[in-house]
Amino acid sequence: MRFVRHFLRERLALVGALILLVVVVCAVASVHLAPFDPDDQDILARLLPPGSPGGDGTHWLGTDALGRDVLSRIIVGARISLLVGVLAMAISAVVGIGLGLIAGYEDRYLGRMLMVLGDMQLAVPFLVLALAVVAVLGASLANLVLVLGLTNWVQYVRVVRAECLVLREREFVQAARALGASVPRILLRHLLPNVASSAVVISSLLIARMILFESSLSYLGLGVPPEIPTWGGMIADGRDYISTAWWVVAMPGLALFTTVVGVNLIGDRLRDLLDPGLTQLDG
């Protein structure tokens, strides 16, 4: 609790937390919050500008080319962004932290192999890799989460491994080993808690990037199936109507941008508090 209060003392972090709170509430309670049915088409009410009166309410952010309420679709779209961002981050974290701990503690072939693997991943930009995988396996929510999750663990490995290489030599780890603690016990009880704060920082910044990646893939039609409302998909739908109805593209993008700003603000604050040395994470 004290950490939370300390965390929120900075104004920007507070802004980030509020943004995220709104997005989470939208995602969780989307069905009750959305003023209209997000899939409800009305050809007579297509491309209405923001603030137009609708059947039983106001289209605060206008309607799209099929007459669907933009605000409602943005609220429902928060689900996919958050779900994919958090799930993909979780997969990356489990894989990356696990491999990083082992590679850092045992440091033999695995460590070197992982570094080559990491360089291989750097050689194929994420978006390119995702395109290729989706081209082979087809687009679905599960494939999307797997692709994102399994291609972004390298950052964890780099940081966790580097920290473990140092921790390994510390007295408390040596003592644990001398007392006969098993390797899994040393990794999980002694090393993991000490790399946790770096991992938290990486995770928060990674979620922001995952959300951006998801929306890029959905924009290209390679993410979630098109019948599920996503922010990226909405932007793609509105692309052709940009000269007559800018709001159809602008509004979901603004939601996306604001969400990522919120997550990044929290990530920056966490980095300042937990691990000021982690500047190399960017990029």
Binding site: L122, A123, P125, A132, L256, N264
Partner: protein
């Protein structure tokens, strides 16, 4: 120095071999890859003939050997749609992609370096805070949305810049800006924090105490030290820029490799996708090799190794 170059070359070769093997298995992830290379309505006899011609009925170690051997000779199969060698199609598009990415990279460096230098020396003041907010925004923009918004404002509303195509520098402005936004933010943040760190170090205090002019302390002692980790990140950005170019090209109808790859995916023209991924890997590995060797110029300690 020679040993270092040699070991980096070896490493680069290993990475490229790894990527090729990965592409080989990726294509076979879903089982028999014949369906990826032929239209969905192909006749069973055609499928069988193609499977045999491509060697897909051989054991996979044989296939892997054939794949790598053909790749070494620049043969990545025929494009189904264009009936030309896939690699030639990709290479024809390479200059446009390199042009876009290179301009975006130069733009990022031209903006981020001065901003970072001024911000680091004015830490906590108005310029620094504004800069930090701008980098936060740059980091958070969905690139494809920023691109569409730029088209909306500069092409639709103001009508000053073309929304698509590749004719002259004017058509390069919007794609380059939308592609550069993210890397500009990342480079600025990193160089700023590196400079702040170096500014607080002992040798800088000594240099100031000796009475060296401020400008020369910044140039010779701070910037040079802060540049080393920054160059790494600039090198890493090249991958991000080339990857980001895929989506930017799509939006601005920029005739590069990324646009070709996206078309290839919707046409199920997998030979092209394969050639595209490998070309991308070669370019990025080459750039990172170059970055590695640049260190030696920046850091005299490495020249002796």
């Amino acid at each position: 120095m020679f040993g270092r170059v040699f070991s980096r070359l070896l490493h680069a070769a290993a990475v490229l071999l790894g990527v090729s093997v990965a592409v080989f298995f990726l294509v076979r992830l879903g089982g028999d890859p014949t369906g990826l290379f032929l239209p969905p309505d192909a006749a069973p006899a055609d499928l069988a003939a193609f499977r045999h011609a491509m060697g897909f009925d051989q054991p996979w170690p044989v296939q892997l050997g054939q794949f790598l051997w053909a790749g070494l000779h620049g043969d990545f199969g025929q494009s189904l749609r264009y009936g030309q060698p896939a690699m030639r199609l990709v290479l024809e598009r390479l200059p446009a992609t390199v042009e876009l990415s290179a301009v975006a990279l130069v733009l990022s460096v031209l903006v981020s370096v001065p901003v970072a230098i001024v911000a680091a020396q004015n830490r906590g003041r108005a310029f620094d805070r504004a800069g930090l907010l701008a980098t936060l925004a740059g980091q958070s923009f969905p690139a494809f949305w920023l691109a569409i918004m730029l088209i909306l404002v500069f092409s639709e509303w103001l009508g000053v810049l073309p929304p698509s195509g590749r004719q002259g520098w004017r058509s390069l402005v919007l794609p380059a800006i939308s592609l550069a936004a993210y890397s500009t933010a990342i480079i600025t943040r990193l160089l700023r924090s590196n400079m702040i760190e170096v500014l607080q170090s002992n040798h800088v205090r000594t240099a100031h105490a000796k009475g060296l002019p401020h400008g020369s302390v910044i140039w010779r002692h701070v910037l040079r030290n802060a540049a080393i980790p920054t160059v790494t990140v600039i090198g890493l950005q090249v991958g991000g820029l080339l990857g980001g170019a895929v989506i930017t090209e799509q939006i601005f109808a920029w005739p590069g490799m990324g646009q070709l790859a996206i078309q290839a995916i919707s046409n199920r023209d997998f030979a092209v996708v394969q050639a595209f991924v490998l070309t991308m890997a070669v370019v990025i590995v080459a750039v990172n090799l170059l970055v590695d060797l640049t260190y030696a110029l920046l850091d005299p300690r490495l020249r002796r190794m």
